[in-house]
């Protein structure tokens, strides 16, 4: 049965359609894999009974020829997505017992199309982190290890559970969210494919909010094709999210294998950082070479405000977070710590319920929005954001179809290794991904090689607004050239 878990989502879909396998078999194989991989801490809640019920129901539908595009496919769901009657915590103590009476739009669309839920996946608390170490359920372990070593490594974050589970063959794909790199960075750390769609492509309704102008849901899967299949079900207009865009959802899978001949690929000189490891540099030029060999044209481009994206992000994102997280006050849902007055109750609840990273970001966000500092910090950051977006617009106006960059400045690092003394050390992980959120663009991370220690590295492609299809076509070229990477099983 274990070999069922190593199928790609597309292969499983075809097997289900031709009735050579059933969803129940596929689901059971994954539930067994999850059980034997608890050391990874990827799942914070397993829902085996619900999974089997969903699988049986979808098997009956498939038998009648009524299965949807994801009929019978077992998925993992990041614990940031509200799932009706299934505990949803954002991996925060403050929501430890929250059981939503509603379903997020994105997950509702996955179930509409026939997918099966295996359980809820670990993430950084409120998606604030780049290593999945801030979760109240403890860190997620990366299924990848350095050659000949058994140091436990982080899977990246905040969608660390999603990336780890997909890489370790615990689910065929997973939902994830990306505010500054939270889909693409963990995908790069685990040799999985992660796509952050254009802002507005997927509904944010029912997803625990972190920074509303940056948050976007997207898929993590093992191949570019699988990622495209998932996005088609996740995307679409939702009247319940005013920033959701009303435009048709293309058949993203049709973009796989489409020629990239004549596409113009920008190589941004500002992403060539001082002290960039030689292997990242090498990977980047190899990737450019693959695209060129496939007929794309490489052009050097300039995105002059790149270096300001991360500092501007660390004003905008905490500011929005401090506002969004004001709702956790111990009154309507979540944890309450009693206090003498209502003010004491709020303060005690939030001190007890939020972890250190969340407290820090809420405080910095409060500060940059407070009277006397708003103009100097928040307003200035919003102006810098305009400039960052304009850099990309100028580049696309010159005919560039997509931009190729490394996904991360390094491979996965050890648990507890970074950010202990200075939070900024951890933040630098998102240096290549955060620009994309600031500009609202789509970006994909595709596995492209390994470093000297045998750890996976990824490349990022950044697209024009709503041109996810170009990213899938180009991503497929990278995947075909680089091959796929699977961690050796040690758990």
């Amino acid at each position: 049965m274990t070999d069922l878990t190593s199928l790609t989502l597309a292969e499983a879909r075809d097997g289900l359609a031709s009735k050579s396998i059933t969803s129940l078999e596929l689901t059971d194989a994954h539930l067994k894999a999850i059980e034997s991989a608890r050391v990874l801490n990827a799942f914070v809640l397993e829902t085996p009974d619900q999974a089997r019920t969903m699988a049986r129901e979808i098997d009956a539908k498939i038998a009648k020829g009524e299965g949807g595009p994801l009929a019978g496919i077992p998925l993992g769901i990041k614990d940031l997505f509200a799932t009706k009657d299934v505990r949803t915590t954002a991996c925060s103590k403050i929501l430890a017992n929250f059981v939503p009476p509603y379903e997020s739009t994105v997950t509702a669309q996955l179930w509409r199309d026939g997918a099966v839920m295996l359980g809820k996946l670990n993430n950084d608390e409120f998606a604030m982190g780049s290593s999945n170490e801030t979760s109240c359920f403890g860190p997620v372990v990366n299924p990848w290890r350095r050659d000949g070593a058994n140091t436990t490594l982080v899977p990246g974050g905040s969608s660390g559970g999603s990336a780890s589970a997909v890489a370790a063959l615990l689910c065929m794909g997973a939902t994830a969210t990306d505010t500054g790199g939270s889909i693409r960075q963990p995908a790069a750390f685990t040799a999985t494919v992660g796509l952050k769609p254009t802002y507005g492509r997927c509904s944010r309704w029912g997803i625990v909010a972190f920074a509303s102008s940056l948050d976007q849901a997207g898929p993590i899967a093992r191949t570019v094709r699988d990622t495209a299949i998932l996005l088609r079900s996740m995307a679409g207009h939702d009247p319940k999210d005013t920033t959701s865009v009303d435009r048709p959802v293309p058949d993203y899978e049709a973009a796989i294998g489409k020629s990239v001949k004549g596409m113009k690929i920008g190589i941004p000189r500002e992403y060539r950082l001082d002290g960039m490891p030689a292997e990242i540099e090498k990977l980047w030029s190899e990737g450019a070479g693959w695209l060129k060999a496939a007929g794309a044209e490489l052009v050097e481009v300039s995105l002059p405000h790149t270096k300001y994206a991360l500092p501007a992000y660390y004003i905008v994102a905490p500011a929005e977070a401090s506002s969004n997280l004001a709702r956790y006050d111990g009154v309507r849902y979540g944890l309450r710590v009693p206090g003498g007055s209502i003010g004491d109750m709020y303060e005690a609840t939030r001190a007890e319920g939020f972890g250190a990273e969340v407290r820090r970001r809420v405080m910095i966000g409060t500060y940059v929005l407070s009277a006397g500092y708003y103009d100097a910090y928040y307003l200035r950051a919003q102006k810098v954001r305009t400039l960052i977006k304009r850099d990309f617009e100028d580049c696309f106006a010159k005919g560039v179809n997509a931009i190729l960059t490394p996904a991360t400045p390094s491979a996965a690092f050890g648990i507890g290794e970074k950010g202990g003394a200075d939070p900024v050390e951890m933040y630098l992980n998102d240096i290549f991904t955060v620009t994309v959120n600031m500009a609202g663009l789509p970006g994909i991370a595709v596995p492209a090689g390994k470093d000297a220690q045998g750890l996976p590295l990824g490349l990022q492609l950044i697209g024009r607004p709503f041109d996810e299809e170009a990213l899938f076509s180009l991503g497929e070229v990278v995947e075909q050239a680089a091959g796929r990477f699977t961690p050796a099983r040690w758990w």
């Binding site: 017992n97 059981v99 939503p100 009476p101 509603y102 802002y199 507005g200 102008s213 005013t242 920033t243 865009v245 405000h305 300001y308 991360l310 500092p311 501007a312 660390y314 004003i315 401090s322 004001a326 006050d329 111990g330 309507r332 849902y333 944890l335 309450r336 009693p338 206090g339 007055s341 209502i342 003010g343 004491d344 109750m345 709020y346 303060e347 939030r350 001190a351 939020f354 407290r359 820090r360 809420v362 405080m363 910095i364 409060t366 500060y367 500092y373 100097a376 200035r380 919003q382 102006k383 810098v384 954001r385 305009t386 400039l387 200075d422 939070p423 900024v424 933040y427 609202g440 607004p465």
Partner: protein, 95 residues
Amino acid sequence: MSVDAATVRRIAHLARIAVAESEVSHLQGELNAMLAFVEQLSEVNVEGVEPMTSVTPMEMKKRPDVVNDGEIADDIVRNAPATEDHFFLVPKVVE
């Protein structure tokens, strides 16, 4: 710019997060590390630049002003720490 201990206490209060006296100096160090990091934004010329207030250029969507949901009081209070007759209970706020 950097924050002093009094400012840390003031921010914590604005954010409604209780901070013990023993945590203040540690938090002050962390907040100042973040502020030092974002300080580089001051070198950007933002003269005449409009602040970015929406990501996708589109008109704000409007919906008819009608009741389209409701009668779900049980659902609304289901996760509340303390309720009575579909009301949220909080510590006494008026004398």
